[in-house]
Every structure is written in structure tokens, then in C-alpha cells.
């Protein structure tokens, strides 16, 4: 087991290094020059050169890459071109919001997706099954900003049930602050969940249908176990393994979806930071944000792998 975890951890480190390298070169291959975005209008060649030197862009690209890796190993993500502040500080001030949003969406999707998938499989061909399938496919086909705007207009503006954007009312304190926090979280959370729920429910439904046809399930029923116990304790336990893999994969999609959701809902997370940094070609900030998100997704997948291994020892080999 230890060997398995070490092997997977090494693979995770390699993945993160590849993500860092690809991000570094990809950003610099993008059309545009960050210095041109600092000064609109008159900008002498001397001014542009001074900025390039300040940003470290005057050095050859491989030198820039090496210097970046050296700093990174020491835990330094660099200084933002535009904000002139350490990238680590900027990102860490935003990361809790993204973790809260994406984490809540992740948990809620599982809590809703699993019962829906199980229930649909148990009622195969019936109305509830058809509704779950239709909802799953429709939800997955929805574009996050579209559903986000719709929710804002209907639940935020027309009905006035939820605030328009933001993460918390800054003037609240104590319990009122926590109420405000969840009040502001509701709509962005619902936007992400409604889009993410479909794949879970449908995957679990398919797995359950397969497992429910297995001999040991028929045998369990034959032994007189209650249908509920057979369904939730025996069938689900085996059907959930592929869904576990899906959870790891979906986390990446969830983090990607947060960029759009945070922008529409004016939510102050890393996703919105990325959105703004892209427009400014702020390389250090973009690199830092991508690395943080890559680490989050890779670590989550590593945990998923370990969990899968613990649940299914055959994976160890």
C-alpha cells in the first residue's frame, strides 16, 4: 500500500511540474505583450524596455523559466506585474472563497447525485427514472453563465430572495455574517450544482443497474435481505467505485466552472482573479493561480486514487 501511495505521489508531482511548465510557456506564447497593456497611448521604446526589464521579460525565455523554477522551489511565486504585490499573498486571500464555493458544490453534488442515481436505478423505466435522466442530460448541457444570469434575474432581482453578487455583507458581524455568507453562496452554489449533478446521477444509475443484475444481489434478496438494505448497503457499495473516479475528474471541471460563476456572481475567488489577470496578461499572477488550482485538483485526485484503492484492493497492483 505504501508503495502504491508513493508511486501515485510521484506521479502527482510530475503532473504538477508538467502543469507548471505548460502554463509558463503557454502564457508567453499567447499573442500580446504585457507592457503594451500598462500604457495605452504614447509609450516610448525606452519606457517599454524599462517595463520589460522590470518584469524580467528582457531575458531569454529558458532563462526566465529556470529563474522561475528556482524561485518556485523556494516557495516564491513571484510578484504581480500590475499589483506589485507577492502572488502568494494575493492568491491566498482569494483561495478560501473558491474552496468554499467549489468544496460546497462538490459535497452537495455528491449528497444529491448519489441518492438520485440509486433511486432512478431502483425505479428503472418508471417516471422518476425518466425525470432523473432528462434532468441529468439537460443539466449537463447547460452553460454555467446562462444559468447563473437566469438565477440572478429570477431569484435575485425579480423575487428578491438572494443578494445580487458578492460573497458577504461586509458590515455584518457574528452569526449575521455567517447567515450573510450562506445567503450570498446560495445562487453561485446552485449554478454549479445544477450543472454538475447530471453526470453523477447518470453514472451512478448506470453502475447501479449493472450491479443490481449481479448474482450476489439476487442471492442477497433470496436470503431475505430487505430491498432497501440490499440496495443501499450492498449494491451501492460496489456501484460507487466508478463514481469515485468521476468525483476526482469532476473537481477539475468544478474549478473551471468557478471562473465563470465567480465572474457573473461577483464572487471574490481565484476564478475571478484569473479572469482579471488574463485581460492584463499578468504572467506571475496567472501562473500562480494555475499552479494553486492544479495542485488542488491533483491532490484531490490523489486522495480519490487512495480512497479507491482502499475500497478496492485489486487496484493496488
Amino acid at each position: 500500500m505504501v508503495e502504491f501511495i508513493v508511486r501515485r505521489s510521484m506521479r502527482a508531482i510530475l503532473t504538477i511540474w508538467i502543469a507548471i511548465t505548460v502554463t509558463f510557456f503557454l502564457l508567453r506564447l499567447l499573442p500580446g505583450d504585457p507592457t503594451l497593456l500598462v500604457v495605452e497611448g504614447d509609450m516610448t521604446p525606452e519606457m517599454q524596455q524599462a517595463l520589460r526589464e522590470q518584469y524580467g521579460l528582457d531575458k531569454p525565455m529558458l532563462t526566465q523559466y529556470w529563474l522561475y523554477l528556482v524561485e518556485l522551489v523556494q516557495g516564491n511565486l513571484g510578484t504581480s506585474f500590475r499589483q506589485l504585490q507577492p502572488v502568494t499573498e494575493i492568491i491566498l486571500s482569494r483561495l478560501p472563497w473558491t474552496l468554499l464555493l467549489a468544496g460546497s458544490a462538490f459535497v452537495l453534488t455528491i449528497l444529491l447525485g448519489i441518492p438520485l442515481g440509486v433511486y432512478a436505478a431502483a425505479h428503472r423505466g418508471k417516471r422518476v427514472d425518466r425525470i432523473v435522466q432528462m434532468f441529468g442530460i439537460t443539466g449537463h448541457a447547460l452553460f454555467v453563465p446562462s444559468i447563473a444570469i437566469l438565477l440572478l434575474v429570477v431569484a435575485g432581482s425579480m423575487l428578491g430572495w438572494f443578494p445580487i453578487g458578492g460573497a458577504i455583507d461586509p458590515d455584518t458581524r457574528g452569526l449575521a455574517a455567517y447567515f450573510s455568507l450562506f445567503h450570498h453562496l446560495a445562487l453561485p452554489l446552485f449554478s454549479l450544482v445544477i450543472v454538475q449533478l447530471g453526470p453523477y446521477a447518470l453514472t451512478l444509475r448506470t453502475n447501479m443497474l449493472e450491479v443490481l443484475g449481479e448474482d450476489y444481489i439476487k442471492s442477497a434478496r433470496g436470503r431475505g435481505l430487505s430491498p432497501q438494505r440490499t440496495l443501499w448497503r450492498h449494491a451501492l457499495r460496489n456501484a460507487i467505485l466508478p463514481a469515485l473516479t468521476l468525483m476526482g475528474l469532476q473537481l477539475g471541471t468544478l474549478v473551471g466552472g468557478a471562473v465563470l460563476t465567480e465572474t457573473v456572481f461577483a464572487y471574490p475567488g481565484v476564478g475571478r482573479l484569473i479572469y482579471e489577470a488574463v485581460g492584463q496578461l499578468d504572467y506571475p499572477l496567472l501562473q500562480g493561480a494555475f499552479i494553486m488550482l492544479a495542485i488542488t485538483v491533483v491532490v484531490a485526485n490523489l486522495i480519490t486514487d487512495v480512497l479507491s484503492m482502499l475500497l478496492n484492493p485489486r487496484i493496488r497492483t
Binding site: E46, L84, W97, S157, Y178, L311
Partner: protein, 545 residues
């Protein structure tokens, strides 16, 4: 461990972890936020809440050029001059300026009553320090405006003189308007100003001083009771709070819902009518300091010919574009100077008529022909670049392409991502540039930047090298007599129009939406750079009732 060990408690653990994240986020946010003013979060009358689209990227006013940064920073740091509602320069920190030594010495006198928020008087030393720092570190676009400065003198605490290598008529206007004056006693302690973030402990002398910044959420500014341009009795709004809404649609909903009182960003033309039935929301129209245009790269062998440029101008139906694309929310332009500058706009110029058939004839008379009979003039195949983030200009490019085809001119519209667009226009990689100038504060700077061939780093997107035009510009730039200056600007205006170096399109109407049921008294200035949110304007605002 095997599958029998899987229990719902794993899920419960995940739920608990999320709850902990929520608690951490909650804890870290509102602690130390301080009070937001007398009205608190209830949206009372002394807190004016303004929607902005992005966070403050840079708090250093000597460096920052972002429009949204300037909304906050310009209210905090004084400028020698400001622009009033009629696009005229009027005194701000300065009481006025004069030119001496045949225009080679610009002398500003400062008001006596400007005081930094820490109690230190604002003096000529602060102005000198600000200008010299910009020159030393080549900061922002102001560095280009200080090109001619040889030395700066401060004969006394309220006089500052700029000695120039050559006379440049709008020098004082340009520097006076664009250059923020910072407190020397604070900034000089920072060392290398190019790396100074200035992100806390703000000391300003403008109408409002930043008190706290919560990135991603809000920026709270407090009234500066020492601000001398406030009305008698002081500014009525005690707290100005900027709230960040990256999506303009969300910001509109926030205004309707009462979450904010003013949209800092203009209302898109397509959304103007949606506010018509909202009795509490008022739209305030302000002038524009920019304009949309089609500019021709004269290094292209076809576009080097004035006849081709004139023919292209004849396939642009400006009135129709304004009516259909802008839904009437714009004013047409004829010459290269915006009608906003009434003293300089040459009203005798006549627009090129919209006449695709006439354009084709003009081109055929110039030697172009359709030898292969495909309806298009041979070889006349040009590419228009535009910024796809500007939906109006993207549509304009499509309309012009269709009209040009009727004249036998093949145009390809390449509307690309903004950074690509900027990169291509800066490197001259285009035939035709369809874009929009954001802010020109004076016509001379505009003409010099856009047409003078010897202006390195300028925005001569025509890439034109015309000796006559250079001579006209240089001659006008050194003219300090106001009437002669206006006449010469109009001459350049006429020459550029005759040469059809550009096809001016329109000056877009800018409208700001605010809650007129709660606040009144804004003193707006032209452009979305200034708009409703200058320090001067905010200091005049009063709660209703």
C-alpha cells in the same frame, strides 16, 4: 481495509471540511473591516455605493493607468487641473498657469488651502517630486508628456515652473490634467517608486481618502474634510464605497435592487431602454473624449493612395451605423477632431458622401479594374482588424465589409481577442484598423500622437510620414497665441480630412445610471474615465430629502 469499511461518515467528513472552510472564509473576511460609515450596511444616505468592474490593480497613482483604478485614485490625489462638464480645463490644485520665455517655461501657481490628510500642506515640492519621479522611472503615459522638461523650479512653496526644451502649447493642459500629485514626504520613503504598491496607510488631498480595501469585494473611502472644492458646509456624502461587479449585467441588477446607488461604468447602448420604466433610476448623459474611427495603414501599397482611402470613406454609411448598430446612441463625426472640442472642430468640413457606386468609379478612374469579371476590383483585397470585445465595432466592421463589396472592394474583417488586437496594431500588422480612441484631453496631443512621424512610441496607426503634416503639427505645437492655435488646429483638421487618413465614425453617447431617489447633485465630466466619479463630482453629491 476493504469495501466493507466504506461508511457514510466519509461523506460527513467532507461536509465538515467544507463547513470549516466556510468558517475560515467567514472569519477572515469581516474581522477588521471597520465600520462603513454612519449608514452602515443599511444603505443610508451618507454612504454612496458605486459599482466598479474590476479590483484596483495598482494603488500607486504615478504608475496606474487602469480606468477603474483612476476612479478611486483620482478622488484621492489632486491634479493641477481638472476637466469640467464642457471639456474645458479648469483649476484644481493650481489656481492657474502662464507661459513665459516664448512658451518654453510653464509656471503653475498653487492654491493655499490644499492639505494632505495627515495635516501636511500640499506644496510645489510635491508637484516637483511627482514630475521628477515620473521622469526618472518613465512611469505611465505622463512620462511622454514630460518629454520636453529640462528642469523644474520651485521659487516658493506655491509656485512651480517647468523649463522646456521647446515650446509646446498644450504642455500645461496635458501635464496639469494627467499628472497626479503625490505627497513627497510619504512616497520618498518608499525607495524605488516603480516597485511601490502604496497599498495601505493612504495619505491624500483629494475629496475622499481610501480607508480600507477588501480585494474582490469593496473599497471604502472616507470624506476629506479639508478638501477645498467641497461646497460650503462640506461634502454631504461621508463614505464612498466601491463594490466590484465584473459583469455589467450583474451590476445593472444590483442598481435596480438597491445594492448600489451608481454604476461607475456606462450603461451599454443596448441596455439604455431597459431603464426607461424604472422611476427611481436616472440616466445622466455626459460627453465623450474619444471616438470610433477607421484608420488606414498607408504603408500598404493600395492604402498609400489618397483615392483608395477616399473611396473607402465613401462606402461607410455613418448615419446608418449610428441608427442600426448604436441604436441612435451616438453623434456623427466628419473631421479628426471630436465635436466635443467645440473650439477646434472644423465645422466647415463636409463628410464624404455614402456612395458605393461613386467609390467604384473613383477607383476605376485611378486604374483599378475588374479584369476577371467576378464583380470585384482585382488586387484590392484588404484586411480590417478590430477588437472583438467591442461588439459595436465588430458589427461596424461587418457592415462596412458588406458595403465595400458593392464598390468592388474586398475587405476581410479580422475581429480578434483584445491582446492580439493591441499587439497587431502596435506592430503595424494590419491594413485597416477599426477601433475607438478612449480619451484625448486636447486636440493638439491627439494630432501629435496620431500623425507626427517623428514621435517614437506614439499612436500613429496610419504609419504616415508626411512632411507637410509634420510641419503643420510642429508649427502648431509651438503656437502659444490661443486664436492662432485654434486656426492652425483647424488647418490640420482639414488636411487630414482631405487626405482621408481616417474615416471618423461616431462619438458614442455615454450614459451613467444612478438612483435619483437617493442622491442628486453630481457634477459629471466627459468620458467614462471621469464621468460621475471624479473627486470634485462626488464632493458635490447630496442625499435626496
Amino acid at each position: 481495509m476493504n469495501s466493507r469499511n466504506f461508511r457514510p461518515r466519509h461523506l460527513r467528513g467532507a461536509v465538515v471540511a467544507t463547513a470549516v472552510a466556510a468558517l475560515l472564509a467567514g472569519c477572515g473576511l469581516n474581522e477588521g473591516n471597520g465600520d462603513s460609515g454612519a449608514s452602515g450596511g443599511g444603505g443610508g444616505s451618507t454612504t454612496l455605493r458605486i459599482g466598479t468592474t474590476t479590483d484596483v490593480a495598482n494603488f500607486n497613482p504615478l504608475q496606474s493607468l487602469s480606468k477603474t483604478d483612476s476612479w478611486i485614485l483620482n478622488a484621492m490625489y489632486p491634479h493641477l487641473l481638472r476637466i469640467d462638464g464642457d471639456a474645458k480645463k479648469v483649476p484644481d490644485l493650481a489656481t492657474g498657469y502662464t507661459y513665459e520665455n516664448d512658451g518654453k517655461r510653464a509656471v503653475f501657481t498653487l492654491r493655499e488651502d490644499f492639505v494632505w490628510s495627515d495635516g501636511t500642506p500640499v506644496t510645489s515640492a510635491d508637484v516637483k517630486y511627482s514630475a521628477e519621479t515620473i521622469m526618472k522611472y518613465k512611469l505611465g503615459n505622463v512620462a511622454a508628456k514630460l518629454t520636453w522638461v529640462e528642469s523644474i523650479e520651485t521659487p516658493d512653496a506655491k509656485t512651480v515652473a517647468f523649463n522646456l526644451s521647446q515650446a509646446y502649447a498644450p504642455f500645461a493642459e496635458g501635464v496639469g490634467f494627467w499628472m497626479a500629485v503625490v505627497p513627497k514626504h510619504v512616497f520618498e520613503k518608499a525607495g524605488d517608486i516603480s516597485k511601490f504598491a502604496n497599498d495601505s496607510g493612504w495619505v491624500g488631498a483629494g475629496a475622499y481618502i481610501l480607508e480600507s480595501a477588501t480585494p474582490g469585494q469593496r473599497y471604502v473611502m472616507k470624506r476629506n474634510d479639508k478638501y477645498p472644492h467641497a461646497p460650503a458646509g462640506g461634502a454631504k456624502v461621508e463614505t464612498v464605497e466601491y463594490r466590484v461587479y465584473p459583469d455589467v449585467n450583474t451590476m445593472q441588477l444590483a442598481l435596480r435592487n438597491g445594492d448600489i446607488d451608481l454604476m461607475g461604468t456606462p450603461v451599454p447602448a443596448s441596455a439604455v431602454s431597459s431603464f426607461a420604466n424604472d422611476s427611481k433610476i436616472k440616466l445622466q448623459e455626459v460627453g465623450s473624449l474619444g471616438f470610433a474611427h477607421i484608420t488606414y495603414n498607408v504603408t500598404n501599397k493600395h492604402l498609400a493612395k489618397p483615392e483608395v482611402r477616399r473611396a473607402l470613406s465613401m462606402v461607410v454609411n455613418t448615419d446608418s451605423i449610428i441608427k442600426t448598430v448604436l441604436q441612435g446612441e451616438a453623434q456623427p463625426m466628419v473631421g479628426p477632431i471630436s465635436p466635443t472640442f467645440t473650439d477646434y472642430d472644423n465645422t466647415e468640413l463636409k463628410a464624404y458622401p455614402f456612395d458605393p457606386a461613386g467609390a467604384r468609379k473613383l477607383l476605376e478612374d485611378s486604374g483599378y479594374a475588374d479584369k476577371n469579371g467576378d464583380g470585384m476590383l482585382d488586387d484590392l483585397d484588404l484586411e480590417m482588424v478590430c477588437d472583438q470585445s467591442n461588439p459595436n465595432l465588430t458589427r461596424v466592421a461587418q457592415v462596412v465589409r458588406e458595403e465595400a463589396a458593392k464598390a468592388g472592394i474586398k475587405l476581410t474583417a479580422a475581429c480578434v481577442e483584445r491582446n492580439t488586437f493591441l499587439s497587431r496594431t502596435k506592430s503595424g500588422d494590419y491594413d485597416i484598423d477599426v477601433s475607438q480612441w478612449a480619451v484625448f484631453d486636447n486636440p493638439m496631443d491627439q494630432l501629435r500622437s496620431t500623425y507626427l512621424s517623428s514621435n517614437p512610441g506614439g499612436i500613429n496607426y496610419n504609419l504616415v510620414k508626411d512632411d507637410k503634416l509634420d510641419k503643420l503639427i510642429n508649427d502648431t505645437a509651438g503656437t502659444t497665441d490661443p486664436e492662432q492655435f485654434k486656426t492652425k488646429i483647424k488647418e490640420i483638421d482639414a488636411y487630414v480630412h482631405d487626405q482621408a487618413l481616417l474615416t471618423p465614425l461616431y462619438v458614442e453617447k455615454i450614459r451613467f445610471a444612478y438612483n435619483a431617489g437617493k442622491f442628486t447633485g453630481f457634477a459629471p465630466s466627459p468620458s467614462d474615465l471621469l464621468g460621475m466619479v471624479t473627486g470634485y463630482s462626488l464632493a458635490q453629491v447630496k442625499p435626496v430629502g
